[in-house]
Symmetry: C2
Subunit: 415 residues, 2 copies
């Protein structure tokens, strides 16, 4: 007997048939004797429609009213899933953020969870009742409905699992686990049985879209065992352990016995490169540049500065592709303070990252990467590293070639 | 300066353009210096969709989950209207039933309002903030969302007006007031400027669909001045009193100076007639019949019993047309106890009612009705009367003829 939280995203509850399927998966865990809480998203499409209505009425609208409107999407699904579960003979009830309550801060539209009172849910789960909880929402200090921002349902599920002291948090999505890289690019990509929190976090932050970054961070801090698995894979009625084997478990590094040097390879084409030519090489100049960008809400990722020649230097960095026009306008405005001769923008770049806790104990991981790319004549534009990650910026055209070469170089190809 | 509650039904908030129109009407009252609370329904169509989903998942579903699902329709509109008002520069915020709170009993799906704490709303309205309140819903003793049942938004508005001690409750709908009869049948029907609570209540209960019966009852008990008017009539920007003149005011009888003998004529084709032939004329037989029907949830309206001959009698009554099959099955089952020779059902009947407080002081109102119908050779099948109402059952084919004849007979035709 275990206590588990199951989370289903928008595509998994997109219509009544899929909600019935979700009820079947939940019922199976109940039959096995588990205590279950379910966290649901809105039906896919609903949230976009509700957001669109708010934006049509006023491009800049009150975030508190936006939250009131948008939170209804999850509320509908909790009620429908509770009905579907009851129809299968499973005791269940719906819970909105304000009913539990899931307390958040007052940052409407992108609130953070401050605390969850799980006592009543734990008591009822102990009596066999399934708790069906609205993801993505909570209640603020102003006693009004808050939402956590996009992807927030993963975070709701992990936070609830922590509050309920759950043995596991199962995130059902439209992929069946975490892969060594994108299977659409590398046919030999392998599904990982286990991955460490730190690796998942780095992969999520560099482009792997399986889990939302904040939810992984929270899982790591609260030591919640998270499992990623698909709600679209058929259940095997003859295999009592079917559900337990599936997907990828995100756990503490110590739980992973056979460590690979590299766990996975991620790529992102969502960044753009900016090079400032011939800026004066003097103290304070970097602060002038990145201060101005921060003031205009532009996040900067990779940064590299060339060595100085005759008192002048070049500086290259990346920003989100969507922020590029705003970044360019900011730099043009700040040119008198920065003093650069030229700002060159290049949106045709890709960031390729290799991630693995094995890097801590293995030397030469970065070198393997540089050699593999050189063998394919792929030029590296920018390099950045962290303790368990090496990222390089290359021309976007080479994305697939680079990912495939690295997948082979790190011996990740499936047999 | 007055404090008013404005209520808008589903067709008045059916899309974003109509929500903007509602915001314009509310803004006008604010500009006039009024304190305003707005009660809204769900966008027309939404509630039916949500109800349909619940029924698809389980024909007999948990009413508490049904309420959770269905109440979202109003919640969406409160947020959208608040945004639309703010966009016009009007301070506004949305309120759900649980936030005010609007306390109800625990009859989920058809709850009754037990009390509304209006203190915070009154304080904020005094500061110029418009309260946008979800109609049709509240919070039960179990701290779960309740709904009031179909048409409950009118009741929400009247109850809120009573709690806020509002000077008036304006019900915006798709007709521009209460008419002496249905204008689709009688082209000379006149809009009434004022009508007494009792008259409105009788008209609502005999088929006039302008206001929900329970809301009129509540308005009468709490002495809330209710105005019925259309949200589709163009506002006249040059007439500062435009809104104040419009519609029909439902008020205390004493406020109506020029009383007509009859205020209006209503008709209903929603009933069916059942005649039981040759039942034994002995004590307890009526109880056997109507007890059996009540046990099967069949509401009986008009009843008439013929005089007895040779110990046998005939009994005629009406039931809702939708209940007719259930009523027939019940009577067939109870035949051994009742002992009737025959049960004859006739769904082709119409109930025509004349309503007016003037009947209390004028004799001969019923006689005018019988004479007018006789003049058109319309046969009266059943008669029932109350203090301020006379209803007759006739063949359905004669409905329009009867209504027009009575409208003329009671001098209601417009000049």
């Amino acid at each position: 007997m275990a206590r588990i939280v199951m989370k289903f995203g928008g595509t998994s509850v997109a219509d009544l048939d899929r909600i019935r399927n979700v009820a079947a998966r939940v019922a199976r865990e109940v039959v096995r004797g588990h205590e279950v809480a379910v966290v649901v998203s809105a039906m896919s499409g609903t949230t976009n429609q509700l957001v669109g209505w708010c934006q049509s009425l006023a491009p800049l609208h009150d975030a508190r009213e936006y939250d009131t409107v948008v939170a209804t999407g999850e509320q509908v699904v909790t009620g429908l899933l509770a009905i579907a579960l009851q129809e299968r003979g499973v005791d269940a009830r719906s819970w909105q953020g304000w009913q539990i309550p899931i307390e958040t801060d007052d940052a409407h539209g992108k609130a953070r969870i401050m605390g969850i009172d799980g006592a009543d849910l734990i008591r009822r789960m102990g009596l066999g009742q399934v708790a069906v909880v609205s993801g993505f929402q909570g209640i603020g200090p102003d006693r009004r409905i808050t939402t956590l921002g996009r992807g927030g349902s993963d975070t709701s599920a992990v936070a609830l699992a922590a509050a309920l002291k759950a043995d596991r948090c199962d995130i059902y999505t439209d992929v069946d686990g975490v892969y060594t890289t994108d299977p659409r690019i590398v046919s030999k990509a392998r599904k990982l049985d286990k991955i460490a929190y730190e690796e998942m976090l780095e992969l999520a932050s560099v482009g792997a879209k399986v889990l939302q970054t904040r939810s992984v961070e929270l899982a790591m801090n609260e030591r919640v065992r998270v499992r990623v698995l698909s709600s679209f894979v058929e259940m095997d009625p003859n295999d009592p352990l079917d559900g337990d084997k599936a997907g990828t478990l995100v756990v503490d590094e110590d739980e992973i016995v056979e460590k690979q040097m590299v766990a996975g390879i991620a790529y992102s084409r969502d960044e753009a490169k900016i090079t400032l030519r011939r800026i004066p090489d003097r103290p304070g100049i970097a602060a002038a540049i990145f201060g101005a960008l921060a003031d205009h809400n532009v996040n900067v990722d990779m940064i590299v500065q060339n060595i100085s020649a005759d008192g002048m230097t070049d500086l290259t960095f990346t920003v989100g592709k969507a922020d590029l026009p705003r970044a360019q306008a900011t730099l043009a405005e700040a040119q008198p303070q920065i003093g650069h001769a030229e700002a060159i923008a290049d949106p045709s770049v890709a960031k390729i990252s290799v991630v693995g806790t094995g890097m801590r104990s293995h030397a030469g991981v970065a070198n393997t990467m540089f050699r593999a790319l050189a063998d394919k004549a792929i030029n590296i534009q920018v390099i950045s590293t962290s303790e368990i990650k090496v990222s390089v910026l290359i021309a976007a055209d080479y994305t697939e070639l680079a990912v495939r070469a690295l997948h082979t170089a790190y011996c990740l190809d499936a047999a």
